[in-house]
């Protein structure tokens, strides 16, 4: 069996984001980057599948971006992936989901991956498109938003998260692509020996131009902070004073404080 995991490196979402000089993306300077949280679940599930199958399958982890994505790839290698592919693209933020999906598909097209794992979305763009689109382009079966994954005899049994705590169960024959939702598993922390081993694993560099043949289907016009709806009261200062003022407001403006 041959496994592919697609990961993205994203800024820490606790960061303060500023719009860049050209007004079409956030300023990437001074941000701390990490592996997209959804993708950590994808990496963990791939490694668990490999372990289930007697450590036989090879796991390739792929990421698109500038050289800094090497850090996310190294983490995935330290978690148990076997080799890494960096699609070199210093301008990946300006590719739309259709192009990103086409880059991944072009890489995967001739490599006979049986199972492809992706996160269900990225934390920064949140388009929730790339994984499913890759499956469509490759003609693989696909199940999205997984909170449960089992594999036996060439069939993935996927538990999909729907709304309100309801789940649906689908059986998906391989070759299959699954997109991973938060809570699917407990992603492992790389151990120091595994971090050391990861340094020796193969990192292949592929120029984006060799894979991307598609134009963008959508384009960003403008980026800006959310417009505040206004009217909200802001309280700050001494805790006891803040608490008194808050309770005063609640007595005045709501019916719940009797």
């Amino acid at each position: 069996m041959n496994i592919l995991v697609c990961i993205k490196q994203v800024p820490d979402m606790e960061s303060r984001f500023k719009v860049n000089g050209t007004g079409d993306w956030y300023d990437e300077a001074d941000l701390a980057y990490r592996m997209n949280e959804y993708d950590e679940y994808a990496v963990e599930q791939a490694v668990q599948l490999k372990e289930q199958l007697g450590n036989q399958p090879e796991i390739t982890v792929l990421s698109i971006g500038a050289d800094r994505v090497g850090e996310a790839l190294k983490k995935a290698l330290a978690m148990g992936c076997d080799k890494a592919v960096q699609v070199q693209d210093s301008d990946s933020a300006r590719k739309d989901p259709w192009q990103i999906a086409n880059i991944i598909s072009a890489y995967a097209a001739d490599k006979n991956f049986d199972v492809i794992f992706t996160g269900m979305q990225s934390q920064d763009r949140g388009s929730a498109q790339v994984g499913v689109t890759v499956a469509e382009i490759l003609g693989h079966n696909c199940a999205s938003t997984l909170v449960g994954f089992e594999y036996a005899d060439g069939v993935v049994t996927a538990k999909r998260e729907l709304e309100g705590g309801v789940k649906s169960v689908v059986k998906v024959p391989v070759p299959a692509l699954v997109t991973c939702q938060l809570g699917l598993n407990v992603p492992r922390y790389p151990t120091l020996p595994n971090i050391m081993k990861a340094k020796k694993k193969e990192l292949q560099l592929v120029p984006v131009a060799s894979l991307l043949k598609e134009e963008a289907a959508t384009g960003t016009e403008k980026l800006y902070p959310p417009v505040k709806s206004g009217g909200g009261i802001v309280l700050e200062g001494d805790l006891a004073d803040v608490a008194d003022r808050l309770l005063g407001i609640l007595k005045e403006k709501t019916t719940v404080m009797k």
Binding site: Q123, A128, Q129, E161, V166, S168, V170, A243, L247
Partner: protein, 306 residues
């Protein structure tokens, strides 16, 4: 301009998101037609053309068959926009339809600004406007962003839709119901919710104590539930419960768009957060800039003394 709205039903019931698509299409000023895999009895109560694929024949959700059904309706109707709810249904189906039609997709639209589609970025800390490059595009619409206020009295003109593809390699096994509820947030008048900002599991007790002092129930945002700090029945948001209490107190919750969608219909919203600029401030009637773990005990004590 024409919009084809992809309605969603589950286990014989039309989901309300279908009406939110109608509200969105009205904002677009589009002529509306609908497509549904279901039964005529579940048809949305509005006027317009409904392409109906029979649920008995095509079953509960099968993405391959639903994709071909939506594409068949697109070929008949020739719409500019094919619009899905940004739900587990839309996440799964919209990219399949967009890829099949080879058109662009704009996900999780929260607003229309100068004819462009506004979407959220970085947990709601930024917004951006996106425009498709071609005349036809697929859109998914954020739950709760567009409310339908019209009358539910019309009856659509039904046209049956059939596809030649009868089977799919994917097999739908069944639904698994939600876990038994420890708490019914839908009935609570006061909800005090804990977010990732409370830091660790032990600190949830501080928020639970504040909820008790308010005489309310404990809610939570998704990361708190995923971390196993509280059970799923406490979760507020698009994948948890949609709530509308008289008072909602968000403690250490930054305000990811999925959480906002689940609580913004609350009558009065208080947010307690160290970050004045957190996206929750957008929805809050009162934004308290403080460390919630320091403030909550003080507040609870004053409530008990009152």
């Amino acid at each position: 301009m024409k919009a084809l709205l992809v309605c969603e039903q589950r286990e014989g019931k039309l989901l309300d998101t279908s009406y939110e698509l109608v509200a969105f299409a009205e904002r677009l000023g589009a002529e509306v037609s609908l497509v549904l895999v279901g039964k005529e009895a579940q048809a949305p109560k509005i006027t317009g053309k409904l392409y109906l694929a029979d649920a008995d024949k095509y079953g509960e959700y099968n993405p391959e068959l639903h994709k071909h059904i939506v594409v068949a309706a697109v070929l008949k109707e020739n719409p500019d926009y094919i619009i899905f709810p940004h739900s587990s249904y839309g996440w799964d189906l919209a990219p399949r339809v967009a890829a099949t039609l080879r058109v662009g997709q704009v996900s999780e639209v929260v607003n229309i600004v100068d004819g462009k589609f506004e979407v959220s970025l970085c947990n709601g800390k930024l917004r951006r406007t996106v425009a498709p490059k071609a005349a036809r595009a697929v859109l998914t619409v954020q739950a709760g962003a567009f409310n339908y206020t019209g009358q539910l009295s019309g009856a659509p003109q039904v046209e049956a839709i059939e596809i030649s593809q009868g089977s799919s390699p994917l097999q739908f096994v069944g639904y698994e119901p939600a876990e038994k509820k420890e708490v019914d947030l839908g009935r609570a008048e006061i909800i005090v919710s804990a977010g990732r900002g409370v830091g660790k599991k032990e600190n949830v007790a501080v928020i639970a104590d504040l909820a008790k002092a308010f005489g309310g129930e404990l809610g939570a945002s998704r990361p708190v539930v995923d971390a196993g700090w509280v059970g799923h029945s406490h979760q507020v948001g698009t994948t948890g419960q949609t709530v509308s209490p008289k008072l909602y107190v968000a403690c250490g919750i930054s305000g990811a768009i999925q959480h906002l969608a689940g609580m913004k219909k609350s009558d009065f919203i208080v947010a307690i957060n160290k970050d004045k600029e957190a996206p929750i401030s957008e929805a809050a009637d009162v934004m308290v800039v403080a460390d919630v773990l320091a403030l909550a005990p003080v507040l609870a004590e004053k409530l008990r003394a009152a």
